[in-house]
Every structure is written in structure tokens, then in C-alpha cells.
Symmetry: C2
């Protein structure tokens, strides 16, 4: 399971960070998904190995412009590349009207069909063949959602010790068992595959949150998650100065929640442009320090173009 950040700024782009966009893919899969599509996401994609040909689904967390204004241009470009495969677009209910109205007023025709899926109906549709997707309603100025992506299946591992104990030598038989197939031995014995497989590992799960001022809303989803990707728009002091209106989270709020929930990997993103990279203060380092003080797990602050890999043991690392 791997993901790549295409934008990590909140509200407006900066010289180094674009507005929200995140590419997600199972390792080895040709298709990929996009979570949020701020303006300029297609420009970012040009500088990655991702292709609009293989983009299967776009998930929009909420209808604010910094999360969806890149959608029409990306759809148009996919059309100009003569894509013909259906594209899923998943999001809050106004998203379909947003896209249709733009297509109509700008006379945009597409050579591929779009299947709109309102978040409420996501449970009825198998959007991705390899990942289950669940939503959690968050708290923001407009309806906002987190998407949880969980592996549908995990690979089987044969019980090497048991097979050796029973004198079954490595070879094609082991392979059949690993596929989950029962096997008849030359002596007529039948091996029931499930008796020779180790208990399956935990299915990997990543939560990608939309804008949200109440991380605790993710408590249930977090119980089985390996990774939480969540906005940390402000540090706590500036969040309180701003007052309740923006309805965002501070680094401290998210870090405390993730720590209490026992999530092993936390990736913060969606930083207010006031936090500069190299500045004295406020700087991105302030956000990091605040989160580190409250969270003992593996913490990352996302940068544009960074690629992360979640291995089968649930360890998250930046890809080189």
C-alpha cells in the first residue's frame, strides 16, 4: 500500500506546496486512486510516474475549492489523452452538480463515462477491486468525510514447520496450498489447505481525513488503522487565536488523538501557508514540535511529491 502527496497546503497554493491531492495505490496495482483534487493537481501529476490513463477513482473529502477545483481540468486532460475507461467520482452530493454545471457551461465532452457515487451510497458500490472503502463523517464548515482504505485480501503463508514435520517436501504442493487449494498426495492422503496455512496477517488500513475540527470522530475507524493522514492546519496557539470559525485541527489535537487511539503512523498535512519552511516562526518546525510532544508513534509531516510505503507488517516509511 503506497501513497504520494500531490499537495499539502491549506486554502491557497504556495511556491512549494500545492493545495490538497493524494495518490493511493496497492503495491503492484496498475490502477490508482486520487483523494482530493485541488487546482493544479494535474500539473503535479505531470512530474510523477502516475498516469491519468490508470486513474480509477477520485474521492473528494469535501466541497471546498482547495480540495476540488482541480477536478474539471484533470477530467478534461484525461479526455484529451483519449481515455475511454470509466472513471468513478466519489464525494458529497453537490459534487455531481459541480462537475455537470462546469461541463455544460464550458461545453466539455468526455470520451469516457463518469460514474458518480455519493458518499452515502459508497457501501453499495465496489469502487476499487483491491481496497474496501469506508466513510466517516467529520466536523467542518461543510459536510466533510474521511475515507478509510483497507486491503480486501491478504496473501496466504504456508506453515513451513508443519509441512516439514509431516514430511511434505517443498515443491508444487506447497504452491497449491499457498493458493488455498486442497491437495491429494501420491499416497492418497488429502491435505486440507487451511490446515497448512498460517493465520492471516492483519489487513493494512489507511485513513485519509478531510478537513475536520474533531479528530475523535475517527475513534472507531482508528482502532484497526495502521496510518492516519490528517490535516494539521495550525499550531494550537494560532488555532485558538483564529477562534472556532475555520473548524480545523491543530497539530496538538490530532497528535493527542492519534496517541490515545494507538495509531502507529501519523502523517500530518494541509498546513496553513503562514507556516513557512525556512522561517523563524511560525514555521513548519513549530507544527512538528507540537505534534512530537503529544505523539509517541511514527510521525511524518508531508511534503509535496513525497511517496510513502506501508509494508505488510504495518510499518510506514518514506520511499527514496
Amino acid at each position: 500500500m503506497e501513497f504520494q502527496f500531490l499537495g499539502t497546503s491549506s486554502g491557497t497554493p504556495t511556491k512549494t506546496r500545492n493545495v490538497s491531492g493524494l495518490a493511493l495505490r496497492s503495491e503492484g496495482a496498475s490502477h490508482w486512486s486520487l483523494i482530493d483534487c485541488g487546482e493544479g493537481t494535474q500539473h503535479r501529476i505531470l512530474h510523477t510516474s502516475l498516469s491519468l490513463w490508470n486513474l480509477r477513482a477520485i474521492f473528494i473529502t469535501h466541497m471546498h475549492g482547495d480540495h476540488c477545483y482541480g477536478l474539471p481540468g484533470l477530467l478534461a486532460s484525461a479526455g484529451m489523452f483519449n481515455r475511454t475507461e470509466q472513471m468513478y467520482i466519489v464525494g458529497p452530493r453537490p459534487l455531481e452538480q459541480f462537475v455537470r454545471c462546469i461541463m455544460e457551461t464550458s461545453e466539455l465532452g468526455l470520451p469516457y463515462p463518469i460514474e458518480f457515487v455519493a458518499v452515502e451510497h459508497l457501501g453499495k458500490t465496489d469502487v476499487l477491486p483491491d481496497l474496501e472503502v469506508h466513510i466517516t463523517a467529520l466536523s467542518h464548515r461543510v459536510p466533510s468525510y474521511a475515507y478509510s482504505f483497507t486491503e480486501r485480501t491478504v496473501e496466504h503463508k504456508v506453515d513451513v514447520a508443519k509441512l516439514n514435520d509431516e514430511g511434505i517436501p517443498p515443491g508444487p504442493i506447497w504452491g497449491q496450498i499457498q493458493q488455498g487449494d486442497d491437495v491429494m498426495l501420491p499416497d492418497g492422503r488429502i491435505l486440507n489447505a487451511r490446515n497448512y496455512l498460517l493465520p492471516p496477517r492483519k489487513r493494512r488500513k489507511t485513513i485519509v481525513g478531510g478537513d475536520n475540527d474533531t479528530p475523535e470522530l475517527l475513534a472507531v475507524e482508528a482502532r484497526t488503522a495502521d496510518v492516519l493522514i490528517h490535516e494539521a492546519t495550525y499550531t494550537d496557539d494560532i488555532l485558538h487565536k483564529m477562534g472556532p470559525w475555520p473548524q480545523h485541527s491543530s497539530a496538538k489535537m490530532v497528535a493527542q488523538f492519534a496517541n490515545n487511539a494507538g495509531i502507529r503512523n501519523l502523517v500530518l498535512t494541509h498546513f496553513s501557508p503562514r507556516y513557512q519552511e525556512q522561517a523563524e516562526s511560525p514555521s513548519i518546525a513549530d507544527i512538528e514540535a507540537e505534534a512530537r510532544a503529544a505523539y509517541t508513534g511514527k510521525l511524518f509531516l508531508a511534503n509535496d511529491f513525497e511517496r510513502y510505503v506501508l509494508d505488510r507488517a504495518g510499518n510506514l516509511a518514506k520511499a527514496s
Copy 2:
């Protein structure tokens, strides 16, 4: 009069060229105008000296996405910067519905008013204090327009020879005459300012075309223009291979027109992404060679971020 290209690609962005956007400003003016606003225009602006605070008007040539999909994000960012001054948005009639529908579905509120001006009503509105703006209908798949920008006024120049002949010494009196004020001399004589001013120079004029397959539609406007900025999406061979559907111009078509019309400066832009910078062929060099063969004036092929200055004598040059 100066302008800066924010995007010079047609249809989709490339790694080096964004989709259409052009900043225009009278020298010394604090306010500026934007002609077309493809996706990512606000990102380009971040890397210039332009500010959304001083953007007075946006002119959209036609409703195709590569000319207007950057508008909602730019408006939103101007709002986040707490702009309060009114913004003019000029364009084809569906533009207002496009913007309003996006604002509604994405719950975008702006702290400044927008004044929509449909191109048909442009003559009734003084959008810019320093430039007259006229439209010319072009020929494309959707209604498309050229905007001609002409200086409203030119500076006065005193007739130095005549003032010297009449024994009027340089000093404050010359200044008053240059301002167009009549002057009473100490001896009671009254100088009528207009008798001591040289004939005014030609008012500078720049035409910025939208997508168009018939450059000759600009013949009347071209008679008094110093600069034509026009699409040259393809070379002539590829234009003919594509057939009539895209309704674009080739470099040859525009160059021949500009040559026949006697326009002194021609700037080509809006190149199909198939023309690469360094490639063997098709390359941007092919477009340039084709245009040079048909045009004897001063020819430029625009690149993103290039800034051009049109001096008072009607000479166009790239700014360093």
C-alpha cells in the same frame, strides 16, 4: 504597455508551459488585467511580481477549460488574501453561470464584489481607466473573442522649437503647456496650450486573440494595432491532418494574415503540447520557421513568464 505570459500551452499543461493566461498592464499602473485564466494561473502568479490585490479585471476569450478553469481558484485565493476591491469579470455569457454555480456548490463566499460584464455589453462599461477595450468575434467551436486594448490618452509633448522661436524660456510655463493648460505671460499675452503642443503620437494598441480558425476576422482591428497576440496551435501540415474540427490556426495562417495586415509585432502562443522544446520534430522550432517564412515583421514565440514591453514608438521587446 506591457504584458507577461502565464501560460502558452493549448488544451493541457506541459512540464514547461501552463494553459492560457496573460497579464497586461500600462507602464507605471498599479492595477493590471488578466486575459484568460487556465487552471494553475494563480500558481504562475506566485512566481511573478503580480498581486491579486491589484488585479482589476479578468477577460475570458471563450469558455473552453484551458482558458477559464483557473478562475474559481484565483477568485478564492484573492478572497483569502482579504481583497475588498471590486473585480470585473468580462466574458461570454455562460461565464457568469459557470462562476456562480461553482461558488454555490463549493460554498465559496468572497469578501469583495464581482461585476460580471458580458462581452456584448463591454462597450457600455469603462472597465479599465487607462485602456479602451474592444471585442472582435472570432471563429471557433464555441463563441470566442479577441480583446483589443488601446491607450485612452497619450502624453503631450511641447513644441520646443516654437517656444524657443517665440522667446518663451524653459520653466514652469512649459510644464503648464504640457499639461494642456493655457498660460498668461507676465506681459499679458495668453498662450493657447494646443498651439504649442506637437501632434500627439499614435495611441498604442494590442490585440489579444482567443482561439480562432480565421485570423482575417481581425482585419479591421489590425489596421491600427501595434501588436497581435494570437494562437498558433499547429503547424500547417498538422492542422490539415487534424481536419477542420479543432478550429484552430496554424502558424502560417496567422503569419500570412499579420504580414498582409502590416502589423509590426506578432506574438504567437497556445502551442499544442505535441510541439516539444528540444525535440527533433514536431518542435516549437517548426512553428517558428513556418511563421518566419510568411511574416517579415518582428516575430516572437511566447514562453511562460516572458514579459514584453511595447514602447511609445510601437516597438515591442522582451523585457530582461
